[in-house]
């Protein structure tokens, strides 16, 4: 039985959460005792637009199987317009990852407010499920050389 358990794929997921909405949303999920997978590691950032696309690539290079970026709903950014820039930037990054043949769905952006503890929990559960179905990230860590 123990051997069986070891074989089970446990995805490594990095969640960048903006301080003002999504991180507070995660907090609310916790205090409301709503569960989300322990495989999700949260990194707090001041605003979703603090996330340089390189952070996402770096997370994959370091072994992440999925990366999700959460911020305030468009129009609600604590710094007024930060997440509007995030949106274009991430759309183009995701588009490039798709172009070079990385499985779609390994990256995601979700808007979660401080009041949406339930949405936070549901989003993370669903995202973890998606990554579990995609399996381990092999391609993005290895776009060059080895084949």
């Amino acid at each position: 039985m123990q051997v069986e358990d070891k074989k089970e794929f446990r995805p490594k997921i990095v969640a960048f959460c903006c301080n003002w909405c999504s991180y507070a949303g995660a907090d609310l999920a916790g205090s409301s005792r709503l569960s989300y997978p322990a495989d999700v590691k949260i990194i707090r950032v001041p605003c979703s637009c603090r996330v340089n696309p390189m952070f996402i690539l770096r997370a994959f290079e370091r072994g992440a199987d999925g990366v999700i970026l959460c911020g305030c709903h468009p129009g609600d950014c604590h710094y007024s317009t930060g997440n509007f820039y995030t949106r274009r930037r991430m759309t183009l990054l995701f588009s490039m990852l798709d172009f070079i043949g990385i499985e779609k769905g390994r990256v995601r952006v979700e808007w979660v407010s401080a009041a949406e503890g339930a949405k936070f929990s549901a989003t993370m559960n669903e995202f973890a499920e998606k990554i579990r179905s995609l399996g381990e990230n092999v391609r993005l860590g290895d776009i060059r050389c080895r084949s």
Binding site: E61, G75, T81, R88, L92, M96, G101, G105
Partner: protein, 323 residues
Amino acid sequence: MQELIKRAKELLADGTAARVLGWRRGDLPYNPEPAFFEKEEDLDRFVYDGFCGANLSKMMIEASRLEGKTLVFLKPCDTYSFNQLLKEHRVDREKAYIIGVGCRGKLDIEKIRAQGISGITAISGAENDGPDTLKVRTIYGDRTVNYGSALLGRCHVCKGKEHKICDEQIGRSRDTKDADPYEEVRAVEAMTPEARFAFFQKELGKCIRCNACRNVCPACSCRKCVFDSTSFDSAQKANVDSFEEKMFHIIRSFHVAGRCTDCGECSRVCPQGIPLHLFNRRYIKEINELYGQFQAGEDPEATSPLTDYLAEDPEPGIIEERG
């Protein structure tokens, strides 16, 4: 070419320009190099022919810091890059006297070699107002090459022969556009994700990280670049870490997204023949489709798409949803 030299001498003599930025004959018949000319007699080595593909606009960053104006020769596509540099405050318009030079397309020596030609010792007929046939002298005898059959890939998708910025114009141009710039991108998009991945792994695996694509790019003009290594000499060319090794191409192309004019220099200089324009054009194509038609360098006043937004922009999820 003589007309350009004559005009350059005049502008040096009357004090309009303190120096000239152009191309100088190289040590082979097909490798002229960008050069500054300070004195009239130096211009004896000036050349402008089919091999002058090099875009001189980036060198105007350096020239903008010098005393006096620099006379610079820009081809139609180079003027887009100059405009983009102007917009980013990297060059000083007041320090430039721009002569827009005509262009009938630039040559790719590899396409001449691919016609079974080697041991080249001389090439004639490459002048901008030259004939349709190049005469190539080789150590194995004389050969001829049709000018149009040896054009750089970028000239087949030329943005047009209008100079977007210049003080005067010299020389005639010829229409060379006969392909859709996004055709190659679409061909890749049509493959399965597995095939795309294999394709890019094969192409990018050839990269030797010489940094030529970055160094030549007019959009890559940061004073401090993420790819600069703190090491000296040959070590600075090596990858700083495995992250850079793996992600270089994604990062490089992302950094120029929205600012790349599609000047084609990166693909021209890559010693490994990696189709770098595929990355740039994929971004341009996506930007046009998602945020509206945009051509970097067309108008130095326009806001670039990545420093702009609309409340109704699509969500990043569109990439996954659109299938």
